[in-house]
Symmetry: C2
Subunit: 239 residues, 2 copies
DNA sequence: CTTTCCGGTTGATCTGGGTCAATGAACGAC
DNA sequence: GTCGTTCATTGACCCAGATCAACCGGAAAG
């Protein structure tokens, strides 16, 4: 595989075929008719990001929006003293670049080699005017994200460490369509998981060990887990 | 004032004048032209709720959407064992009743006498088809809520008790447009504040005392506070 | 008036998860 | 191979906030 260094980003100038895009049915672009896809393809700028590369930064002018095509991004907010809260991990088909007003409200960084289609915000708004289904689709996507955010508030405000980790693994397995018994890849670090769950890396590590010793996870290593007992994991998640 | 008991709800059958609605400029209805307002007025069903009355319940079929006209609602999610996370307090102009799929994703309950305009979901979707600006406005509202939810994730995952309470008071004062030195009404109980901030009532109470003793708050009582030093409160909020 | 109730405050004590520290395992660089 | 680096795990100890408990004050009922 092509090697991408930290912070290196490659902007591919080659032509893009939205018509044959694998993630289109999942993504906001799935709302567009065939004749609009050519227009879309002319205006998109895919960006390739190596692990750790920054796509957008909180507070910067929000000039672009993105659709994740492959890989995974983490979205996060920082406090001045460095405390970090990861608000989500974005996978192929997900929409990134929401802003309220002029600036991005979170930073986005690749957790593994990642490709994202970039659109100018103004162009995207123009497309929404021309194709109302696009706006309807985006409303659905943002509503789904808001629902997920409210679930995460319950997790962060009221769940124990074990419930948090179990909820996280279940939710990720669901989104990535990994069945029980199969390996669930965890491309993010323990530090990322901790900052998503409102814990420390030590507690995340200890809690992985607990879940393994209790038999809910069959295998735990740096890069992934195997879910042994998905029902028990769901019970451990608390709701 | 008319007395409304807990759980009592009154559905007002009288005619409604959306044209002269005080919260319309704030609300989603503000996107509609004058001629659409008559149609809206014919189809809305204002509901009056006494303190503690339930407007919607998580998991119930999501048949209606609402705009808060006066008072305040709390939105919350429950775990089977009774742990509760309040995901937001909704004030006049706010939109309530988001669902993903068929069911409501949260419960909503009045914290004080409250009026909300009810619309059938199907009717509201029809209006969005006829008036695309309505959908655009709703997308903006949901995006703003998602941004607030991400801020709340940072609060719940990474902030101390003092930072949480300071953030909450600042945010509420901003939304209610209460200036420093004026009284900020807190119609919700300490238990509601605790369940919003991921704390216990004891910690909320102690933290109010700390903020008062440090001079950031001039007055603290059951029903409200007076912010003495808004800059210090902003510093205490952590970002 | 007294009583009960309910929400809030304060104090004493406990504990889940944080902090600090040591160790291990994987991976490039040389 | 041997460093150095980074990430993960584990153990020992600590603390912010939870829990348990006492008490207070206003409002409603009798």
């Amino acid at each position: 595989m092509e090697r991408l260094d930290k912070r290196e980003t490659v902007c591919c100038g080659a032509s893009v075929a939205c018509e044959s895009c694998a993630v289109r049915p999942l993504a906001v672009c799935g709302a567009l008719p065939t004749d609009a896809l050519a227009r879309l393809a002319r205006m998109t700028h895919p960006r390739r990001l190596g692990p750790g590369a920054t796509l957008i930064e909180e507070g910067e002018p929000a000039l672009d929006v993105f659709t994740v095509v492959e890989g995974m991004l983490k979205l996060y907010k920082l406090m001045p003293d460095g405390r970090r809260q990861i608000t989500g991990f974005m996978i192929p088909g997900d929409f990134v670049g929401l802003s309220v007003g002029e600036a991005y409200i979170y930073s986005a960084e690749a957790v593994m080699p990642t490709t994202a289609c970039r659109f100018r915000r103004n162009f995207f708004h123009g497309m929404m005017e021309d194709y109302p289904d696009l706006e309807t689709r985006l409303l659905g996507i943002v509503s789904t994200e808001l629902a997920a955010a409210q679930g995460q508030m319950l997790l962060l405000g009221r769940k124990t460490a074990k419930e948090r980790l179990a909820s996280f693994l279940l939710s990720l397995a669901g989104r990535l369509e990994v069945a029980a018994g199969d390996r669930l890849a965890l491309p993010m670090t323990r530090s990322d998981i901790a900052d998503f769950l409102g814990l420390t890396i030590e507690t995340v590590s200890r809690t992985f060990t607990v879940l393994r010793k209790e038999g809910l996870l069959a295998r735990v290593d740096k890069a992934g887990v195997v879910v042994a007992d998905i029902d028990a994991l769901a019970r451990a998640a608390g709701d």
